[in-house]
């Protein structure tokens, strides 16, 4: 091996060691925990090997099933809406000549608000008795809605909050993407007589596909990990209407103190999410988009 190559590897070593210590070791610990039952006796953790028993329990776990389904609905619906709204807002902002900075600042405000504050704000707005939404409905003589307490409305209410919170993220990335597109292609299209819709359909969208794909993958990863909004707004209820996987893991692992089972659930969920993200990436790659 060349001296230069060895040197390169050596300089990378600290980063690799740090990565192994901070990421791979905890992950390895999680995997091994998943094969154990953990009890605490006389201040000592007593770990008993149970093989695949923890994994075998997963399919029958009603909370996990609801959590997976709700997370999928939540992620797909919220991210789709955020992409559409973010793209529309970005398109509109690029057309503004004066005051673009002002609009950009206004649009990204929700992303700057901490999750705990968002939870408090929306919980108040959704309140059955005192919420501004029901007060507005009362003005047009519509009966108050049980936004967070009804199993039909709760997930939708949480999705709305997530869309409000994260659309700015999509807006920012897509705006950067739009602003980096080569202007000469658009000029040529206009000279050739292309209309606004045709430019959007045949030039803007195809050119933006890689950016859209990256935004989609980033947001999907974050949407699968949603926790704070659910924790603060509904606690997973009513029933299992807003149960999401991160919340299920939290309950099993921490609240119920089922360390081994919680670890097995975490590993299984990591695998499921990784598979979904991989599938999404492959799908976009097959369409010629490289995120």
């Amino acid at each position: 091996m060349k001296r230069e190559t060895i040197w390169r590897h050596l300089t990378l070593m600290p980063a690799i060691v740090l990565f192994a210590l901070l990421t791979l070791l905890p992950l390895a610990n999680l995997v091994t925990l998943g094969f154990d039952d953990v009890q605490w006796l006389d201040r000592q953790a007593v770990r008993t090997w149970v093989g695949l028993a923890n994994y075998a329990r997963l399919p029958a776990d009603n909370l996990l099933r609801s959590g997976l389904l709700n997370t999928l609905i939540f992620a797909v619906a919220a991210v789709a809406l955020q992409l559409v709204l973010g793209f529309v807002l970005a398109l509109l902002t690029t057309r503004i000549l004066n005051g673009r900075t002002f609009y950009r600042t206004v649009f990204i405000l929700p992303i700057l608000v901490p999750g705990i504050v968002i939870g408090a704000i929306w919980k108040l707005m959704y309140s059955y008795d005192f919420g501004v939404l029901n007060q507005l409905l009362a003005l047009v003589e519509i009966a108050p809605q049980d936004w967070l307490g009804s199993s039909h409305l709760a997930l939708l209410s949480v999705i709305i909050v997530d869309v409000w919170h994260w659309t700015p993220f999509c807006f920012l990335i897509l705006l950067a993407g739009l602003e980096s597109l080569p202007e000469d292609i658009f000029e040529a299209a206009r000279i050739d007589g292309a209309g606004g819709w045709q430019i959007l359909r045949y030039i803007t969208l195809p050119l933006m596909l890689p950016t859209l794909a990256v935004t989609f993958v980033f947001r999907m990863i974050l949407a699968f990990k949603v926790f704070d909004e659910i924790y603060l707004l509904t606690g997973g209820g009513p029933g299992t209407a807003t149960e999401v996987i991160s919340f299920t893991i939290y309950r099993r692992f921490f609240t119920e103190n089922q360390t081994g089972y919680g670890a097995a659930m975490s590993v299984a969920v990591i695998l499921v999410i990784a598979s979904l993200i991989l599938a999404a990436t492959r799908l976009t790659a097959r369409r010629g988009v490289k995120p």
Binding site: L41, D129, L148, G236, P238, T255, Q258
Partner: protein, 445 residues
């Protein structure tokens, strides 16, 4: 640059807020090491904070309060006792999970720190929950060791609007049927007959249904005298109690009972929108004009019951224990605080600050005759009928089941009988996995 420093300082100050450091008065000399208490943010917390400030002022000993949400406090306590040295010197544990700390051997028996230490005069043992017999794994003050000191006597009390009762010439109910009748009279377009907590949480809806199901002779997980258990959540008696809860919710209750948290319920009473609530008492809040529209208008009584079984209220009390994994001087310092907290003066100060004293002597004292402390008589009457809902280490797993199934039944997501049968089967699985001896009941038809 100056501005940046200022912002950094503000950010650090904001981040440090949950950790309140209570400094001693200039003249006082600390006799003990500083201690840190891990506690949850509850309606009674401001009173506890006030009494800790008094302790710091009087003794010069320093105390830090690590304040958390309910579930967050439990997680911090678990982590603390499982590490080499706990950062906390006193754990404020809830009735729902303290057994886990006893059974895991995480707490130092208080007499092992000071052989002379004992519960103060008039301080109750709260259904023997302060003692633990490690050999038998039972809560037993005759054969077990003193493990903790009660800090807050949380039990559910009936709160009712005295002005509405006077206006309609109603009598304070002693049975659920009487409460139903009164709530029907008081229900109007502006006022709910009753507001009940029905939301799923850590120990929320389950805690609040106990007075109903016990009043009809039911239970969730019954501890038998021979050390075995009966999964009783699908008994006809439990069904009767739950039917009463749902009848109240449906006919005279809040339209969103399944979505109501403790905060919502208290808020409904404080804003004058509820004629009745069953809640852990937060009297200071209802008599504070800046937070309440019903100052002086809330009356307190034991939760209703039935003619046959009387009344019962679940213990949701808080206990303070000293972790084993701290140095001896810190254990001694923690015990010094507990000793002081039990004194008559501290207990009176605790009540003055708006919290509920654990001393029966104070609850039955002349203080109870003052209008400000009108809740004391109700609390003193309710405590002898208070019961510990669960005494197994796996209670958090049982609660996860009951919180979901009861919430589904209340919200109409699942028929009540199905929800109770399903919960019974799931609880039986937990009992089986934990190797308890237990019986089950036939499914409700």
């Amino acid at each position: 640059m100056k501005n940046v420093t200022k912002h950094v300082r503000q950010a650090v100050a904001a981040a440090a807020l949950p950790l309140a450091v209570l400094a001693a008065a200039p003249g006082a000399t600390a006799a003990e090491q500083p201690i840190t208490i891990v506690i949850n943010q509850s309606p009674w917390f401001p009173g506890f904070q006030a009494v800790v400030e008094k302790y710091v002022k009087e003794t010069g000993n320093q105390v830090q309060l690590d304040i958390n949400p309910f579930a967050g406090s439990l997680e911090k306590q678990r982590t603390a006792v499982r590490t080499g040295t706990s950062p906390f010197d006193l754990l404020i544990m809830n009735a729902g999970f303290f057994v886990e700390f006893y059974k895991g051997g995480f707490l130092e028996p208080l007499k092992a720190i000071d052989a002379k230490f004992a519960l103060g005069p008039g301080i109750g043992d709260f259904d023997q929950t302060v003692c633990w017999n490690a050999a038998k794994s039972t809560l037993d003050c005759k054969t077990g060791e003193l493990m903790s000191v009660p800090i807050n006597p949380n039990v559910l009390l009936l709160h009712y609007r005295t002005d509405l009762y006077k206006e309609h010439n109603l009598k304070v109910p002693t049975t659920w049927e009487q409460l139903y009748a009164n709530a029907k009279v008081l229900k109007s377009a502006r006022v709910y007959g009753i507001s009940q907590r029905g939301q799923r949480g850590a120990f929320d809806v389950t805690y609040d249904v106990f007075p109903y199901i016990w009043a009809y002779g039911g239970d969730i997980l019954k501890s038998n005298a021979d050390g075995t258990f009966t999964v009783a959540i699908n008994s006809p008696e439990t069904l009767a109690g739950m039917e009463m809860y749902i009848k109240l919710a449906r006919d005279v209750g809040h339209p969103s009972t399944a979505g109501q948290t403790q905060t919502n319920v208290i808020q409904n009473m404080a804003t004058g929108r509820a004629a009745h609530i069953n809640s852990v008492p937060a009297p200071a809040l209802f008599d504070d004009p800046s937070q309440s529209a019903v100052v002086g208008l809330v009356g307190y009584a034991e939760p209703p019951g039935t003619e046959k079984y009387g009344t019962a209220t679940p213990l949701g009390h808080w206990l303070a224990g000293v972790p084993k994994n701290i140095p001896d001087p810190r254990k001694k310092a923690a015990l010094a605080f507990l000793g002081w907290f039990q004194t008559d003066a501290a207990q009176r100060a605790y009540a003055e600050a708006g919290s509920l004293p654990v001393s029966l002597t104070v609850l039955n004292s002349d203080m109870a005759n003052q209008p400000k402390f009108r809740w004391m008589k109700a609390l003193a009457a309710a405590l002898p009928h208070s019961r510990l809902p669960f005494s197994i280490t796996e209670s958090s797993q049982v609660l996860a089941i009951t919180e979901l199934r009861l919430n589904q039944a209340i919200g109409g997501e699942m028929p009540l009988r199905d929800a109770l049968n399903k919960a019974a089967a799931e609880i039986a699985e937990v009992m089986k996995a934990a190797k308890y001896t237990y019986q089950t009941l036939p499914d409700l038809k």
